[in-house]
Amino acid sequence: MELLSNLALGFGVALTPANIAYCFAGALLGTLIGILPGLGPVATVAMLLPVTYALEPTSALIMLAGIYYGAQYGGSTTAILVNLPGEASSVVTCLDGYQMARQGRAGQALTVAAIGSLVAGCFGTLMLAASATALASVALSFGAAEYFSLMLLGLIAAVVLASGSVVKAIAMIVTGVLLGIVGTDINSGVERYTFGIFELSDGVDFVVVAMGVFGLTEVLKNLERVSSRDLVTTEITSLRLDREDVRRAAPAIARGTLLGSVLGILPGGGALLSSFAAYTLEKRVSRRPQEFGKGAIEGVAAPESANNAAAQSSFVPMLTLGVPANATTALLMGAMMIHNVQPGPKVMDSNPELFWGLIASMWIGNVILVILNLPLIGIWVKMLKIPYRVLYPAIVVFVTVGVFSIQNSTFLIYVMLFFAVFGYVLSKLNFEAAPLLLGFVLGPLLESNFRRAMLISAGDATAFLTRPVSAALLLTALFLLVLLVSPSFRRRREEAFQGE
């Protein structure tokens, strides 16, 4: 019953006209940029973060969350219509969604994606609300040692569940933590790695890193060759599903939603992993597995539901424990800290309006998304036709002005240029940028909890292992690492990310 009163409080905040407007603006901007080629959700959120600096914290977060799921959703639209996943988690949607579109069933694919996302979003948010209080009350008893171990576990799990080389991903985390050290050490007041540059004494703003490593690097990668997009030329005739579609899609949506809600809580590729898992599951339980890859409606319904449910439930670890599960929630966590809200178990008590308002706004946002997407699909299709060569100069301007606006100084623009080159070299060497950002955002917390824990234990490093909760968390992390070394698990992991 406490849940109900909390949600009532949340809706009270989220349903004020101003906050509905911010939620709408966020969902709209997110969809808009998510549909445009070459910008994933991370870059979109990073680009629009400075816009929200002036808002009060609750409105800012409601808008940012709207941008996040809007961009996620926009990625599905491009997956179906142009066979281009806006981001990794809609790769699977391409398989059957694009085939449906080629068969003249683009409208049905879009509808089932929208309904699946709505159902999943509502359920995922409910999961978030229900588990938040319980998780936070556990975390409230945590000391510095437990926090350190929890963050370490979160980072390791993010590596295990992400695709690509594990050694490289860990190297990226460590690099991220080291970059997070730049600035004034809070314990001693010593400036580290600032080289006497005054602007660096507060550290490097995480938006600058994200804009360089995600925004500009993506632009450079896209310019390596002429972009060609195969837009489905057939008009979208009807959005209506027939009885057969509903009969096949409904159970797929239910399964995808459940799978996504659970997997989304896990750090790392929550949305990515869950969409792959949902697709594989559907193919396995289907009586017509041969239709998958040739336009099966379940192949759109399940992964779309799964990745949206996961997008909602990936807020759980960030909001309740202060440990972001992926790059986007890391950005949102950074945004909260800019507004002087420290994410973690105390947020619920110290900022109940913000916490429950944000959760309630996700329901509203999911409804807004369906309204935005289905009736207005004609407009989005037109936007898909904008060639990349016209688009990217505008991205460049927006990114540059956005970074300028953080401190109204040109210094950060030069820092961003450094990170653009850095990010581009990393991407050419097959490093993933997401663990870098996770390490960067968590770095200062990791260091201060580590040092505090060591101070409390009088320099005894075994304290991390003698405190039971901390030991359990560290052992889980170790177990995950051992799993990675085992050949059979490695093979499975590779298969899971191959995606057919």
Partner: protein, 153 residues
């Protein structure tokens, strides 16, 4: 040898070692402190060493698979990188002197050249339009403190 230097893992290892070296050398004068009371240099030293070790692992991995390992793909967007990043640097450098409108038009015009399928007329039109619209949005509407023209403020 040249093949070794094209191996992604070898290059990655060298890159990671370079980052580690930067943090280890840059932080060599920070006080380490004791395990109980760590100085500002403790964590950089610890993580710098971990990073260096990871770099060595990558290097060895790459050397072991040099025949079969991935090689770095040839297409580097060096031209676009110089044009776009140069345009942004020019913006930052000249903003105070020539004003936002001119600096923005310059960014669009120069970075627009980076597209393999560029069209000059399109770029010019876009430069004028984007400069005008974004000036209205950022400076007039949002009120960001940038001079619009050289003779402003």
């Amino acid at each position: 040898m040249s093949k070794l230097l094209k191996n992604t893992d070898v290059l990655s290892g060298l890159f990671v070692l370079a980052i580690a070296a930067f943090f280890l050398i840059g932080g060599r004068n920070y006080e380490i402190g004791t395990l109980e009371e760590m100085g500002p240099g403790f964590v950089p030293l610890l993580l710098g060493s971990v990073l260096a070790a990871l770099g060595v692992v990558l290097l060895v991995q790459g050397a072991a698979t040099q025949a079969t390992g991935l090689t770095v793909s040839g297409n580097w967007a060096i031209g676009p990188m110089i044009l776009i990043l140069g345009a942004i640097a020019l913006f930052a450098f000249t903003l105070r002197h020539v004003g936002y409108v001119a600096a923005c038009a310059m960014v669009v015009a120069i970075s627009g050249l980076a597209a393999p399928d560029r069209r000059m007329r399109e770029i010019l039109i876009e430069a004028v339009l984007l400069a005008a619209i974004s000036a209205l949005l950022f400076v007039e509407a949002i009120g960001m403190p940038m001079p619009l023209f050289p003779w402003s403020n």
